[in-house]
Symmetry: C2
Subunit: 361 residues, 2 copies
């Protein structure tokens, strides 16, 4: 591991709050453990950078054996390719409009392989036009909706139609299919039918790309998949613990915060609110897990205030005390701060700028 060690940096206890800390031993363990899980399932590992948005952590994933990286937005891919982390990049978002397809082709010229998804003919034709104008060939994965209810073609036959259109258009080559998450309800049925349809049509499907951290435990249930894209596993969070894919001890991201008020016996106010933790909940209750007071509940967040209910906690923190909160969803917390602090043995070992924070385009 090439995490840089700078002995001049502060003791962890000196960090002012709120701030986001990364426990480096856990980060390294998560990267190694999941690389092993994915390799053991016979898949290529293509981690999603959305969780950390930090080129140096992408480099750790590549060093551990990942074949390349996944980005959601062009601006993220530009950041990671500028940093020279990988020359095999996948962008899992429909790229629409001349401004963006132009940037996409600029990037394609700088790496060995830049692949991108499409789930409709308008997007596919736009990619074809842009690639043709540059005299290049762009690898395409067709995004499939196997029950998650977001992007994606709804039927294997539509995927085949789109692949045939790609065959006819200049500048685009259909390399396979992509789904998120791997364990969406219809994945097995959808991919089994697609593989059979494409085979009958004599169309190769070298890449079948699944994704998601919670589906790491069921990789063997989807034997046709060739690669896996997981993001959250590098840090983990309350959602991953509730999903059974991580324990509290696998959670590498802590939001360090100070108790600034104890207005009542059972209420503490901390200086991290939704501007750090976000109000993301999905299927979990409350807004984070308090490491030092596991019976306490982060029951509400204002932008700058975290409201903690201490009624179930025999021990109660005092004003001025530092507490660490594991967020519900670590990926979105990365996007709220300009830097994170990498900790080991009570020291700040490294300060990482979140280089791809806020890359919304």
């Amino acid at each position: 591991m090439d995490i840089r060690h700078d002995p001049m940096l502060a003791a962890a206890g000196d960090l002012d709050t709120p701030c986001v800390t990364i426990l480096l031993d856990r980060l390294e363990d998560n990267i190694a453990r999941v690389q092993h899980m994915i390799a053991a399932a016979g898949r290529a590992n293509r981690p999603h950078i959305k969780t950390h948005k930090i080129p140096a952590i992408g480099a750790l994933q590549i060093a551990a054996g990942a074949i390349g990286l996944t980005c959601q937005k062009l601006g993220e891919a530009e950041t990671f390719i500028d940093a020279g982390v990988t020359d095999d990049m996948l962008i899992t978002f429909n790229i629409v409009g001349d401004a963006k397809t132009g940037r996409l082709m600029d990037l394609a010229e700088r790496v060995k392989r830049l692949a991108v998804v499409a789930d409709n003919d308008i997007v596919l034709r736009g990619l074809s036009d842009a690639a043709r104008r540059r005299g290049r060939s762009l690898p395409i994965l067709i995004e499939c909706d196997a029950g998650f209810g977001r992007n994606g073609v709804q039927w294997p036959s539509t995927a085949l139609d789109l692949a045939r259109l790609a065959d006819r258009l200049p500048g685009v080559v259909c390399e396979g299919l992509l789904v998120f998450p791997n364990n969406a309800p219809r994945t097995l049925e959808f991919f089994a039918e697609a593989v059979s349809l494409f085979r009958a049509a004599g169309m190769p499907l070298p890449v079948l790309s699944g994704g998601g951290t919670p589906s790491l435990n069921s990789l063997a249930d989807y034997p046709m998949m060739t690669e896996h894209r997981a993001g959250t596993y590098v840090y983990n969070d309350v959602m991953m613990v509730h999903s059974g894919i991580a324990t509290w001890e696998n959670c590498a991201m802590h939001v360090r915060t100070t108790v600034v008020s104890r207005p009542t016996e059972d209420r503490a106010i901390v200086d991290a609110g939704s501007k750090v933790l976000t109000r993301e909940q999905y299927y979990v209750q409350n807004f984070g897990h308090v490491v030092e007071y596991p019976e306490a509940a982060v029951i509400n967040l204002s932008e700058e205030h975290g409201i903690i209910d201490l009624s179930a906690s025999a021990e109660k923190p005092r004003v001025g005390e530092i507490v660490n909160i594991i967020p519900n969803h670590c990926c979105v917390v990365s996007n709220m701060v300009d830097e994170v602090y990498g900790l080991r043995d009570g020291r700040v070992e490294i300060v990482w700028p979140v280089a791809a924070r806020g890359k919304v385009r």
Copy 2:
């Protein structure tokens, strides 16, 4: 109004998505209208900058008649004081720890008046120590919890105890009481009792500071208040429309986004997800109001995807079409982007960096 006009800037239609646009006519109208409302109620106007985080907009509020500004975090106050927007600043957050009280005193030395809240003796003693070390006197407002359930002393008698402690401590002068929001359940009863208690004790209360945009309609119900802190009114959002304090036509912030997929007849996917709109809901349903398709519902957000249900909308957007979304909560959207685009008459009149974005400390 001194919004700078640059004729070289783009047509609004050229802005790539997603991005946050501010309709300047509406912004100016909101600033003027609310200044008038607050002045007509006999209050001083001290807008909260958390909504825009942009010094130039703070300057417009001051030019319209605001006596000063409100910040939640030291980093915000530093940004606005660096920009020279006001020399009368209030920080409405308990400042804890030597690092922060030192920064607070640095700021106090640069402006005519910097006031700060306290709701407990530990915070008050910390402020006193820091001010004493600099040989300065710091104005304090005692934060009261009149039923909102966040920070604040719970009883008027506790406020008096804290004011008496401030009297005994060097470096701090209690100037009054503060509450958020103005229309919290017990505000009237709490402040009436406090005013009477302080009067009986011979302690002046020159400042009684209320807050909140939804409470602008009921200022007259709280006649003892001397100043009002509202933030959201500069832009407004779905929550303010639901609160009855604004109409859709008062909403100055639009999130400009592109339809990137139409996976089914009734589903559209746009390129703005929680990384721009955030998943904040509080008391409203869904995740934003689609201006061009008011019957459409933004039913879910991933980080980069907005999922729109078109089943109630007779008209349905095509892939590549631009739609504008009014967010649930404009303040948190400001914090998601590095810049906003000020629009008038179909032109980008100004690009404002969100200078105090991400100032979590």
